[in-house]
Amino acid sequence: MGLHSIVMVKQVPDTANISGQVMKEDGTVNRAKLPAIFNHEDRVALELALQIKDSYGGSVSVITMGPPRASDVLRECLFMGADEAILISDRKFAGADTLATSYVLSEAIKKIGKYDFVFAGRQAIDGDTAQVGPQTAEKLNIPQITYVEEVLEVSNSKVKVKRKIDGGFEILEATLPVLLTVLKDAAFPRPYKAKRIMAYKNAKTLMELEKLTEGNSLLYIDQLKDEYQTKKLYIQTLTMDDLKLDEERCGVHGSPTKVHKIESVVLAGGNHEMIEPNKNGVSYLIDKLMEDHILG
């Protein structure tokens, strides 16, 4: 039947390997000090999209909004099997919160055209907001199912999924097109494929091609772009102008979220209290925990 999926992916700082002066004075992350990696749940999202393609045919497009070097994750998507990768990048997008990001992504998705699925990881490990997926669905005006654990059934017009909820799961059905955000255990991402690595290792975005032309008067960007397009090595690159976006809704301007204060919290042991291991002791412990708003 052929189903088209769009996967939203993000390059994130490797928060599992934090060292040194990662946090800047103003509370933002010093990305230069952190290795950048493919957000794991987004890789899982891509795997689910590829599985749908394997089973039902169709195609998989991947988009990311980020700085030029986010092209790394797009190449990795091509290595896994994505048919098309798109970078949405502009200096004017810098400092975007989830509202501005979902605005840009939703406009880009509209520009791509017809689709059956939009996939995203539940959340990115840098912001942990889990908002971009849902906000994008709202702006696209399509149904959304978050916290997807498993895709159970797919048909031409519907999908049935298992969704994680507190203390259990629920099974939901939605009509297509739909946006799904997925959990890390929803699938095991396939490895990068040797042949695709070799074929797409030189795939380049517009910014990367521009870099090649710098200091080389014999190379013209349009010509180079054509050449890469013919070799299927051009990563489509969209800027604010390409998407005809409202500048007031992009980047810092379009982001109401402000970082109020950043504190370095040192966890240290304080006073302790012995509680008898009996019924009274347990009741007392529960009261204490409720007082501290840890329970209840």
Partner: protein
Amino acid sequence: MANYFLENHDLLYQFEKLDLKEIVDLTEENYKQADKFDYAPINYEDAKENYKKILEIVGDIAANYIQPRSSSIDEEGAEFKDGKVTYAKGTREALDLLSKAELMGMILPREYGGLNFPTTIYMMAVEMISRADASLMNLFGLQDIGKTIAQFADDNQKEEFLPGFSTGKYTGAMALTEPDAGSDLQAVKLSAYQDEKGKWFLRGVKRFITNGNGEVLLVLARTEPGTKDARGLSMFVCYGDETIKVRRIEHKLGIHGSPTCELQFNDTPAQLVGQRRFGLLKYVIYLMNRARVGIGAQSLGISQQAYEEALRYAKAREQFGKPIYYLPVISNMLIDMKVALEANRSLFYSTSVWLDKKEKYEERVDLLKALKKPFAEENEKLKEATKIVTFLTPLTKYLLSESANKITYDALQIHGGTGYMKEFAVERLSRDARITNIYEGTSQMQIVAAAGGAINDVFAEYFDLQEKKEYKGSLEKLLDSLKEIRELYKDCIKYVKDKKDTSFQDVAAKDLVEIYAYIYIGFLLLNEANVDQKKVFTARRYILDSLAKARKNYESIKNELYSDVLHADSILI
């Protein structure tokens, strides 16, 4: 994230140092394949970038996916039930992932779905896979079976079998050994016969067959009834169908993930590969030589992991108020292990490059002959490479497998009592290492195979050239030591030759082969140290240690230590 390629500085060093241009130019037919395949390289630099990227992926999969499964693979092992062999869960998962990553046909031609990589690059992958799980190497390393088919089978057979190898749908087995034909393969009895239409069938028993349950088998069989030697043997390819009964699998000391089968062929339909009567003489020798190099890589991988385990343990374990790493006796053992590893790796990749050269020139000469073009120049190169690889292959298999046993032994020793317990990986590594100097030809067989090269001084010209080179600073002294070893060697050879006693020569062969290896490896390391400061310590310890050992070997020969072998019956009572 851990990566067995990017984080193994010595492997990376050997990779960067590789000059494969000559080989890759030939393999890629001057890069014409790039017109047909989008993943074929456009020039040598591009090819090398490809190799690096793929080895990075192998390093990632090996470290983060396979290694964490190795202990459960060892515990679970391959299972045999109701006539069926099942791999351990971890083995299945690892094979599945490697297949999905398109890494099961690394050395097969592109038209059959392979990556068309040189053997040297493939061997780097084999080393890393072996480090992650030695038993998995016995399946991953079976790509050589596909390679043998690619080399000698006809086009229809290649079309039939190779794509399945590339995708990982087929695993293979080489069915050579029989109950009465182990080291002596000439004694193979399994018979191949034809029906009236000329179709071949196999009948008989094979034993100790690694992955005998595989989907495609290469079988050595007797096609000429009444013959008793290698000239009556031919090679066949067949499916592992219901006519082949797995009678049992062995319960082994190590490599539990790799099933070792006893097979009964009950009129199994098969296809002849290549020419009749050349089974052992040409095809199996080809396959076996590649397999021996593969065991070298397996030995290297096991050794690397054992060294890493020992180093980590020594740094973590505190006794007498400090980590035992700081006890000179322990750091000395670790240095010995590290130097052995680096020397082994240097020898290993030198061997695999020569193997690549030999095979590429062989193909080239065959092609030129077929096109009726002159091939004298290529033939000279082929002859040289053949001479060298005939010596280096058994030598490498011998030294690296023995070394893997020594390194795992010492690594366990550094762990003390805990190393003897199942909780630590070093116990498994010691068991896994133990097969490497037995299968694919025992160490004793490798010495016999390498003896000719050592006695005929295959590297005479190369050594002369190395002696004349200039070496920096303290390396000149090491050069003197190598010259001294060479003198000892010459003296020993003359002594053995003059003696004209073949049984003495048989026993002395081990000492001779070793002395000769010290010189070759010594020069490899000396050259590395000459351009790379960090290799000076390695070269120093290796060469000084070799000098001491060479003197011992020399004394053994000159003092006729082994003359009492003639009196074995009086001693062994």
